[in-house]
């Protein structure tokens, strides 16, 4: 019996993401990795909080000058919705509905790109309208590093999901790739978790002052 064994609706296991030992290992290992990522992002958040509004002179923009609600709100909606679409994808994965899974993953990817686009626009805007750059102050460095790290995670997640979709487009679901899809979706949710804190701590709290 082989992991690439062809499945039918009848033979597809209830928890394909944990059906083999490899899958179980992957599942657990990935969760531990997320535990480490939690500390990673906590370090970045902590640094940001320590350096928030630390600028060399009074001409430079502070958090409350920079951020605007509509932009952040749109970005948040895009990313939160992408979480739901990826949940749908996993729902179809469990039901062995490969095409539908791909569809929902596709949607997730689109939303992710939308989010990234907004972020790029936003950074560009700060640089040109406020001269708030990566090197203009400790505040600038901390802001771009925290938000940029998250953005890089989004970008990597997109690459990952696209690769998975492309690689498996022809061969459908099996017990070798199902855990991969599952783990990628965990990663995507984790990115969302981080964003919830970013929009709260960086943007909303920044606007409050």
């Amino acid at each position: 019996m082989h992991v690439e064994e062809k499945f039918t609706h009848e033979t597809w296991p209830a928890s394909p993401e944990k059906a083999t030992l490899e899958a179980k290992n992957k599942f657990l290992g990935f969760w531990f990795f997320l535990g480490g990522e939690t500390v990673l992002f906590a370090s970045l958040f902590a640094t940001y909080l320590a350096l928030k509004d630390r600028v060399p002179n009074t001409h430079q923009a502070l958090a409350k000058d920079l951020f605007e609600l509509p932009l952040t709100f749109t970005a948040t909606m895009l990313l939160l919705t992408s979480s739901l679409t990826s949940v749908y994808a996993m729902y179809h994965m469990k039901n062995f509905a490969f095409k539908k899974m791909l569809l929902w993953l596709g949607l997730t990817v689109l939303l992710g790109f939308g989010f990234l686009g907004l972020e790029i626009y936003e950074f560009n805007h700060y640089v040109h309208a406020f001269h708030h750059t990566f090197t203009s102050s400790a505040f600038g460095s901390a802001f771009y590093t925290l938000v940029g790290f998250h953005g890089a995670h989004v970008a990597f997640g997109l690459l990952w999901i696209i690769t998975l979709m492309a690689r498996n487009a022809k061969r459908g679901l099996n017990l070798y790739n199902a855990p991969k899809f599952y783990v990628a979706s965990l990663y995507w949710h984790f990115i969302d978790v981080v964003w919830v804190f970013i929009f709260t701590v960086v943007y909303l709290m920044g606007m409050v002052g």
Binding site: H2, K24, F32, G36, S43, R54, T135, G140, T145
Partner: protein
């Protein structure tokens, strides 16, 4: 050194090791690389001691001294002690839990190569314009101001090898949770496995802050960020916190596996089960937990305020309690036992007073108000060499003797082993005991020289002499390794005669699939139980069947090599943009390309068939 190394040509063996994903071979790689870096770090230590032997010495210049001192600390901690610990974890832990390999063999190899290339990168700094010179702690204000690329080597090198350590930690965690043999409950796991587990958890939570610290400083130094630039709103204390949030758990990452090795040693050579097993486990977990709550004791003199200092002082002292529990449990393991003083046991026995001496000076340091006097003086140097050399290094040397037959199938010579032991032990105390007093007499650490007339002369000379005893001990060990490898007398499964845990039931070295049939574990010290019931081997938990094994792969090497190349590009992009950027992208392309290959090329491994297993019966587990 080992059977399979002899049977093949050199090229084939080399290729075998470059592509292996077998935890036992990866262990050998860690052992060799870590051993090499230990000698490098030791030579640096000797240079330090030569320079400080007499006042106003000019053996090395001030700048060079700072580089040697920094590289000594960095090399010893990151490139010698940690990899050697990983060597034993890899060699022993999967065998101890009755597994055929770790959870992610590919990742295991990747972890090694990342460490290796990170270490090589760091040490290339010697030849490329100077090594880092801001201390192993690389405090921000000095490190950012440091000229040349030394500190960049530190940042990038540690970043690369740090990734290797992190994924190694995750790998061990998953292995221990998912791959235990039937019947191996958590409370039946050997102590070394427990130590591996807690250590890996510490790695998982301690390395991310270091990663971030390194990233921030790299951004400052190479890309113009302002995290640590005070005039631009930056704050250097951020680095100190991030470093020590990592740094303090790091010292327990070093010592807990050492505790693990000694726990095994005491039980084996006392012929007695570990006294107070469950409280040992409890103490281990508690030390791990408390380890994250005390880091600011390295910053008592920073001016964080009395409230902070008082809280961290008390929290730090608390660690003495679980550590004490372990010490007394070891003593009582020997109590009533039948203690045989083999070389590994000598190390274990010598460890107790040495480590206790170092531990109690730790508690003295924890007394914040008094630490204002000790801090950054030779008293601290004495403290941490007592715990590190008297704890970690003794464990590594003892572990080398203990597990050598299991790893290579031949014993180290006991007489030479004991000579090494005595030379090293005497040298160690000679070098570091007197340093307590140097510190108390007012000698700061990290000084490239000292002026006459301050009363430091004699003590420093004594200390330097001691270092050469240690060096002599290490040289005898190297001779021991070479001569016994040449003789290559093969040994059986349980060469010490008193093995208690599963690994001693396997041949030495074990077959590459470890267990022909997974063993059934019926209690703590599984192999001992079988022996006491008069059985020769283990009770199998499954019928003989095909064994699934992972394929070897060259990709881990390539992925790490790519990062190694990219690091040069990142470092030189400031002044050599023309070639540095292409190099950066080339390196990243190699890494990402290898990752891409890995993910699109399915790798399902292969099966060893039942029939083949039956053939080499004489080598495998007698089940």
């Amino acid at each position: 050194m080992s059977t399979y190394a002899k049977k093949q040509g050199f090229g084939a063996t080399l290729w075998d090791f470059l592509t292996t994903v077998d935890h036992k071979k990866i262990a050998i790689l860690y052992l060799i690389a870590g051993g090499f870096f230990f000698v490098v770090g030791g030579l640096e230590a000797l240079f330090i001691r030569i320079q400080l032997a007499v006042p106003n010495n000019d053996f090395v210049s001030a700048g060079l001294y700072n580089q040697i001192m920094t590289m000594h600390g960095t090399t010893m901690i990151f490139l010698a002690a940690m990899p050697l610990i990983f060597a034993f974890m890899n060699a022993v832990m999967p065998l101890q839990i009755g597994a055929r390999d770790v959870a992610f063999p590919f990742v295991n190899a990747l972890g090694f190569w990342l460490f290796f290339f990170g270490g090589v990168f760091l040490n290339l700094s010697w030849f490329l314009g100077g090594a880092p010179d801001a201390g192993w702690t690389s405090y921000a204000s000095l490190a950012v101001a440091s000229k040349g690329h030394g500190v960049d080597f530190y940042l990038l090198g540690l970043q690369i090898s740090g990734f290797g350590t992190l994924i190694g930690g995750i790998n061990f965690l998953v292995t221990i949770i998912n791959m235990r043999a039937p019947g191996m409950t958590y409370m039946r796991m050997p102590m070394f496995t427990w130590a591996t587990f807690v250590t890996s958890a510490l790695i998982l939570f301690a390395f991310p802050p270091l990663t971030i610290g390194l990233v921030l400083m790299m951004f400052d130094r190479l890309f113009g960020a302002k995290f640590f630039e005070v005039s631009m709103g930056g704050n250097t204390i951020i680095w100190e916190h991030l470093f020590w949030i990592f740094g303090h758990p790091e010292v327990y990452i070093l010592i807990l596996p050492a505790f693990g090795i000694f726990s095994e040693t005491f039980a084996i050579f006392s012929r007695k089960r570990l006294f107070g097993y469950s409280s040992m486990v409890f103490a281990l977990v508690l030390i791990g937990f408390l380890g994250f709550m005390v880091w600011a004791h390295h910053m008592f003199a920073d001016g964080l305020g009395p409230v902070t200092n008082a809280i961290f002082a008390v929290a730090t002292m608390a660690i003495g309690v679980p550590t004490g529990i372990k010490i007394f449990n070891w003593l009582f393991t020997m109590w009533g036992g039948s203690v045989k003083f083999t070389t590994p046991m000598l190390y274990a026995v010598a460890f107790i007073p040495s480590f206790v001496a170092g531990g109690v000076t730790g508690v003295m340091l924890a007394s914040a108000a008094a630490d204002y006097q000790y801090h950054d003086s030779y008293f601290v140097v004495a403290h941490f060499h007592y715990v590190i050399v008297g704890g970690v290094v003794l464990a590594l040397l003892g572990g080398t003797h203990l597990y050598w037959p299991k790893i290579f199938g031949t014993m180290l010579n006991e007489t030479l082993g004991k000579i090494t032991f005595w030379l090293f032990l005497i040298g160690f105390h000679l070098t570091f005991f007197i340093q307590h007093f140097l510190g108390l007499w007012g000698m700061p650490r990290r000084v490239f020289t000292y002026l006459p007339g301050q009363g430091f002369e004699t003590a420093n000379m004594v200390s330097s002499v001691g270092a050469f005893f240690m060096a002599a001990g290490v040289i005898v060990l190297l001779i021991n390794i070479i001569t016994t490898s040449v003789k290559n007398v093969r040994v059986g499964n349980d060469p010490w005669g008193d093995g208690r845990t599963l690994e001693w039931a396997l041949s030495s070295p074990p077959p590459f699939y470890n267990y022909k049939q997974l063993p059934l574990v019926r209690g703590l010290d599984a192999y001992w139980i079988e022996k006491m019931e008069g059985k020769k081997g283990l009770t199998p938990a499954e019928p003989l069947g095909d064994i699934h094994m992972p394929n070897s792969s060259f990709l881990p090497f390539m992925m790490s090599f790519g990062l190694f190349v990219a690091a040069f590009g990142a470092m030189y992009h400031g002044e050599h943009g023309t070639w540095a950027f292409p190099v950066l992208f080339l390196g990243l392309a190699i890494t990402l390309g290898s990752m891409f290959l890995r993910s699109v090329k399915d790798d399902h491994g292969f099966h060893i068939h039942k029939e083949d297993l039956m053939d080499d019966d004489e080598k495998g587990v007698k089940a």
